[in-house]
Symmetry: C2
Subunit: 367 residues, 2 copies
């Protein structure tokens, strides 16, 4: 079939929206008619050429939501008509990581996915004789895509799909970092550095976990206002004395949990320093630039701080994304406030530009 898709032709150039061919799903694969897709920093990171593992040409996009249109042979997990969220982090349910409650890092298809292929080592997108590789196993800047069934979370059909899209990456990443990676304890103090979609997700996750104090830090007063809307109890404009201020607000000890959602290694260092002596946990969510290092003063560790990181918020996609969507439907998560722009696919490059200007929280492409 022919689908309209935004293709990364060359690093550092605008995406080219065009008609491409999409082949039928093979065994274990699913054809998804996409309805919405968030525009995420990871798309821009790859499009810019900054991602050392990037490749082109490929169909970009990974924060998708849609409806199953058809399934290939042997598919048992979803059926035509199911509403699904796409998962760049699949869940096979059988590998050493899926069988552990401690991680969401499914190993089933990672090698081929990293190369831009579906699990059998081929691509479903093409243009004449030329194959177009998949991006993050998803490729959701398109009317439709073909994906492995283990990479689709079946969600409530009552949830509007434009609001489901952020659960495919940024929002689940932030919420999950608090709920699943850090496992924030009720009554605790949390600090979130950076109030984009991921950081706001961490604010939401901390609130859902029952944190008593949720401190949000950002350079933008507007984003701090958003953080208050989603549950931050304290907000502060980022400054040189941020860590000292956090310590002064916590009897000199620091915060029980800190979250870094900017990808800036200096901010990561602040997140470590602001974590509490004795048991503070600093969780890195942002993706640092290539070759950048996080410098940690060893004494901060010896005196009891812990440092970790989170990918897709530690969320096991098929098992846990549906429940997060349900919490939105139950009124616990204000997704509407997070989707600050809705655009057609043709405007994807403008969405990248707006993102670079840090405008809004999340732009969703309606397909």
């Amino acid at each position: 079939m022919q689908v309209r898709a935004a293709v990364l032709e060359e690093f550092g150039r605008p995406l080219a929206v065009q008609d491409v061919e999409l082949a039928d799903p093979k065994a274990g694969e699913v054809l998804v008619r996409l309805e919405a897709c968030g525009v995420c920093h990871t798309d821009l990171y790859t499009a810019s050429g900054a991602d050392p593992s990037g490749y082109a040409p490929c169909v970009l996009g990974h924060e998708g939501a849609g409806v199953v249109e058809a399934v290939g042979p042997d598919v048992t997990l979803v059926a035509a008509g199911d509403h699904v969220v796409t998962l760049f982090a699949p869940e096979c349910g059988k590998c050493v990581h899926c069988l552990s409650p401690r991680t969401n890092r499914c190993t089933a298809i990672r090698d081929q996915q990293g190369l831009g292929y579906l699990p059998d080592g081929t691509a479903r997108f093409s243009r004449g004789d030329e194959e177009l590789r998949h991006f993050m196993g998803t490729s959701t800047f398109a009317d439709a895509t073909v994906m492995p069934e283990i990479a689709l979370a079946k969600v409530s059909p009552e949830a509007p799909l434009a609001g489901c899209a952020p659960f495919a990456c940024g929002l689940s990443t932030g919420i999950g970092a608090a709920l699943y990676t850090a496992q924030v304890a009720p009554g605790s103090t949390c600090v979130v550095f950076g109030c984009g979609l991921v950081g706001l997700g961490a604010v939401i996750g901390a609130r859902l976990a029952g944190a008593e104090r949720i401190v949000a830090i950002d350079l933008s007063e507007e984003r701090l206002a958003e953080a208050r809307r989603h549950g931050a109890t304290d907000t502060r404009v980022a400054a040189d004395d941020t860590v000292d201020w956090i310590r002064s607000e916590t009897a000199g000890f620091g915060a029980d949990y800190t979250f870094e959602a900017t990808g800036n290694v200096q901010v990561m260092q602040q997140a470590v320093e602001a974590a509490r002596e004795a048991w503070g946990l600093a969780t890195m969510i942002g993706v640092a630039g290539k070759g950048e290092m996080l410098d940690v003063v060893p004494r901060l560790l010896i005196t009891g701080r812990r440092v970790t990181g989170s990918s897709f918020g530690g969320v096991k996609g098929r098992s846990q994304v549906p429940g997060l969507v349900d919490r939105w439907l139950a009124g616990e998560i204000d997704v509407d406030a997070l989707v600050t722009a809705r655009i057609p696919l043709d405007e994807v490059n403008e969405a990248f530009e707006a993102m670079e200007r840090q405008e809004g929280i999340r732009t969703v492409i309606e397909l």
Copy 2:
């Protein structure tokens, strides 16, 4: 009373063993007749002047064991005749940290202890008109010392005191890092970098926790032989490819738990890199040099590794040291093999020199 003590007169100079005055214990304090004291790297670190928080003159030594000779007013935790291990990390049982199961960082007396004084802000040691400050709240390079009752662990009188001394610092630190800080799970794979007393303690702790594989890394074949004696299942001479080798031995993933017991920040970095994707925990036990930083590749965190540190092995001294000593008496810990030299107090400087040559595991001063 007059006691013989090894005094740090000036950084970088040999200790001066001499007679000094020891005042009676005040309220909440205890006079301990010391029988044995281990010579620890921390003593040498301070004596050398490398420790930025060091001070002189003071009575050095902190890995002591002895018998309570007298108690000051209001002492309820120990009585004359009790066998005790000295605790540079006290346990008041009442502060915010003592009340938490997550940490051993008692806050009760830390400020004065850091300055070299007992909790009331004065010293018990003197020489004529000159006060001699306490070291780490202990000062156990002496026939006797005065310490707060909350800094003494009452241990079995059946345990020879020369063997109790290493439980006052190095041995408990290593064992505790595995048992209490990392909480090694049965059946797991552990890697210990550095096989001095602390590293061997971590090997022992991993064994006591039921680890299936315990890999010890050191530059010295002799120390690796010691590691095997205490429970290491695999040993390897440290080399440039240590991390690659560990990954190759663990299906490419890395070890469930790694422990750093050298204080070298490059080795700390290896400990992080050798920890397993998805859930590996790297625990820093060694003390880095002033101003040195641990460089962490953020991607290692995002993909699920955790980094922490351990002070006194996370051991709550009064509550948990007695049980560790009991495990020695029960035959689970081979302390005799760890005490590789016994010397009189007058030879303390020679013990420092032997330590710099990395001779033996632990020298104990018999007092």
